[in-house]
Symmetry: C2
Subunit: 208 residues, 2 copies
DNA sequence: AAAGTCGGCGAACGGTTGTTTACTGAATGA
DNA sequence: TCATTCAGTAAACAACCGTTCGCCGACTTT
């Protein structure tokens, strides 16, 4: 039986994390497919060969970054969906969360936006799978609301996907704006709220 | 005074186009920032140095591809907006056009999706500018409709951006699906129509 | 204390990259 | 017809790439 947290494991985990951190830093300005292995190890301060002790290849580093970026969001999504007050409130809260995420986790979100349709198949697949899980969770949350009476499950899923896509789009909009421009920031918040409201109204009056 | 269409010019234009075509072909499987200059000229069958007779650098090739991909769409958008029959009809027609574009212009759309948040600043800016123009055109079209009575211009623009973003998302969904799978194709068409309908209903009942 | 594990290193490998240079030869304009 | 323009070429440049190899030395197990 092996210890899972010896000095050995901890040190290995540490340089693995250093590789991920440095990767995220470098990926703010370039694509995963153009990120060089030597470039990355140089940034961390280890030899090129050391990389292979942690990842078989760059694509795997990318997949690990997807998990790091999106994994922690599932709990947040579920929490927001659970506290179902009126829809106006839920819109404000959702937009606020996306906004704060776009500020605090900027590099992570940038990475996701950039690689969602990027050149690395495995990473694209990982992101798509993660977003599908989000859609499922949102659909489950919607199903629990009274407003969903009369909706078929597949219709609810389409609506959930619409919400998820809209969240991603909003996050991407924050990334386009300069990080320290409160005016642009506020403008995005306002238009995001209006868009969500339009969708909510459409939902309430469905099917016309 | 120089002729604009001598044999000279025509031949130059021809290899320029060959570079663009080969670029688009290679970019189906990779990012612009990882596309090598030599790789490209090898594909075309010219010497590496020849590239510089047509483009200062790869970024400029990318910007030219943006124009080629999105330029021809403006006329289409305007045409659809102009023939404003009932909204159900306009939804069907819009989705159909996106679907046909996704089939016929697959590489172009893939390029746009991939580079919209890609690693090359100039290309990102070119795509953003083009999409903003689309939003302006859609907003102008919406303003001409009776249903837009009582909408402020900035509200109309938000709505137009929502439509444009939705078109882009739908196009991207087609790219995710295999090119020759009619079932998946039809599923995307159906959900795209439903999403557009939700937005239209929300618009009709705005502001609640 | 001895034996084993294993993360990190330095060196070397063949191959590719972007860019510049001086050039050739066909289309061009006087 | 003759001089000029200029798209495309071949060659050379230094720099960089991903990957493999054997080795070392600190941690871990026995």
């Amino acid at each position: 039986m092996s210890h899972t947290s010896g000095v050995r494991q901890a040190q290995k985990q540490q340089t693995r994390q250093a590789l991920l951190d440095a990767g995220l830093r470098l990926l703010e300005r370039q694509n995963l497919s153009s990120l060089g292995l030597r470039e990355l190890t140089r940034e961390v301060g280890v030899s090129p060969a050391a990389f292979y002790r942690h990842f078989p290849g760059m694509a795997d580093l990318g997949v690990a970054l997807v998990g790091e970026s999106l994994g922690s969001l599932h709990a947040v999504v579920r929490a927001v969906m659970a506290e179902s007050t009126d829809s106006e409130d839920i819109i404000d809260r959702t937009v606020a969360i996306i906004a704060s995420y776009a500020v605090e986790q900027r590099p992570h979100l940038r990475f996701i936006a950039r690689e969602r349709y990027g050149g690395v198949q495995a990473v694209r697949a990982a992101i798509a799978a993660e977003l599908d899980r989000f859609a499922d969770e949102v659909a489950a949350g919607l199903a629990a609301q009274p407003a969903s009476a009369g909706w078929r499950p597949d219709e609810l899923l389409v609506l959930a996907q619409l919400y998820v896509d809209h969240m991603v789009m909003t996050a991407a909009a924050f990334l386009d704006a300069p990080a320290d421009d409160p005016t642009a920031h506020e403008a995005i918040v306002r238009s995001a709220r209006m868009r969500m409201r339009i969708i909510s109204i459409g939902r309430a009056h469905w099917p016309g």
